[in-house]
């Protein structure tokens, strides 16, 4: 049995909330501060990956289900070069 049946567990949320509206505003060549203005300050910036910001969002519900989303933003000499992860900028409009 998973731990104690019926135990109340709190929700554990981590990381930045990312919305499609935000992602749509991303354009290649943006500076770091422009990305930060659109997406907010990233909570995950790894020491060994200067040129990469990860906008990860995880939610572990007390009731059990777990969801995770991530958007990796890659810079080349300080301008936005690539976007990887669970969102696609819909730049049609």
């Amino acid at each position: 049995c998973s731990g104690f049946p019926g135990v109340y567990k709190i929700d554990v949320q981590q990381g930045n909330v990312v919305t499609q509206k935000m992602v749509d505003q991303l354009r290649p060549g943006m500076t770091r501060s422009q990305v930060r203005y659109v997406m907010g300050t990233p909570l995950l910036t790894d020491t060994f990956h200067e040129d990469r910001w990860d906008y990860i969002y995880t939610m572990q519900e007390g009731k059990g289900d777990y969801s995770r989303k991530n958007l990796t933003v890659v810079f080349e000499n300080d301008t936005l070069a690539a976007i990887r992860g669970d969102y696609r900028p819909d730049t049609t409009n």
Partner: protein, 296 residues
């Protein structure tokens, strides 16, 4: 009712007051020494002894357990006499006051693991020691200051790792990764670095950031080849475990190595026999219960 015909303090010459003060200091009568030195400062503010008297006054406050007064008098000395030859002593005293401020009598003799608690005023001590070491590297107090700085830095690093381990257990893996990163970026050259890297590896793995985890592991193995990486996350305790007092649970693979601050790099400690018997109450619980070696 305030009789303000105070006794007129006789006008003693500067020399005599200073000698009385030194004598009181010898006899460890710090209250009297403070009184004399304060009188000297008021009567002969620019006298021959005024600079030296201020240093002695700081020392007397420190010995008399008056941290605020000691810090204020040290600051005033540093401001007034920037190029006095034993100004390094003033920095040192200021650092010592802060360092000792929190270690009240009661706490010193309790088996409390310092690295799990609030460093408190000791942090202010860190800055004074750092300016002492930076400005006067060859002062006679620099070595001890450096040693205390190392001790403090290690203690802070170990504290961060403790918190990271809690967040791993709690399931807040990004928080744990950031705590690990804080040690790497701010508290370099401490024995807790490998444990901090290990936490980052585990946190990134649990976050599904395989690439970041592998890179962190690479850095860990490169710099600390003989460090044995072991995840900290314990499987969830079940009803069965609870009922059978964990005896059949099988000890979680030995938890990440204990970070010993001043002793050798990677001592390892299993959960002691006494600890298991006393249901985790007494003795070493194997968690990063860093021993704090005797203060030289």
């Amino acid at each position: 009712c305030s009789s303000n015909d105070e006794l007129e303090i006789p006008d003693l010459p500067e020399q005599e007051i200073y000698e009385d003060a030194l004598e009181a200091l010898e006899l460890d009568n710090y209250v009297l020494a403070i009184e004399k030195l304060q009188l000297l400062e008021a009567r002969y503010p620019f006298g021959r002894y005024s600079e030296q008297a201020q240093l002695e006054l700081t020392y007397a406050y420190f010995k008399n357990f008056e941290p605020e007064a000691a810090r204020a008098s040290a600051d005033r000395f540093i401001r007034l006499h920037p190029n006095h030859e034993n100004i390094d002593y003033a920095y040192y005293l200021k650092g010592l006051t802060a360092f000792e401020q929190d270690r009240t009598f009661f706490i010193k003799y309790l088996p409390l693991d310092e690295t799990k608690r609030d460093p408190g005023a000791a942090l202010d001590g860190f800055d004074s020691f750092r300016s002492l070491v930076r400005l006067y590297p060859d002062s006679e107090y620099a070595p001890d200051a450096r040693k205390r700085m190392v001790h403090l830095k290690n203690r802070l690093a170990t504290y961060e790792v403790h918190v990271a381990h809690y967040y791993i257990q709690r399931g807040a893996y990004l928080a744990a990764a950031n705590r690990g990163r804080y040690v790497i970026e701010n508290l370099q050259k401490t024995p807790a670095i490998p444990a901090a890297l290990a936490v980052m590896v585990e946190a990134y793995t649990l976050l599904g950031q395989v690439e970041l985890a592998d890179d962190a592991m690479a850095v860990l193995n490169a710099n600390y080849p003989n460090y044995v990486y072991r995840p900290v996350k314990e499987s969830e305790k079940t009803l069965l475990d609870a009922a059978t007092f964990d005896l059949f649970r099988g000890a979680p693979e030995a938890p990440a190595p204990v970070i010993n601050t001043l002793s050798d790099e990677e001592a390892e400690e299993k959960r002691s026999w006494l600890n298991r018997l006393s249901f985790g109450l007494f003795g070493d619980d194997g968690e990063e219960d860093a021993k704090e070696t005797q203060d030289k």
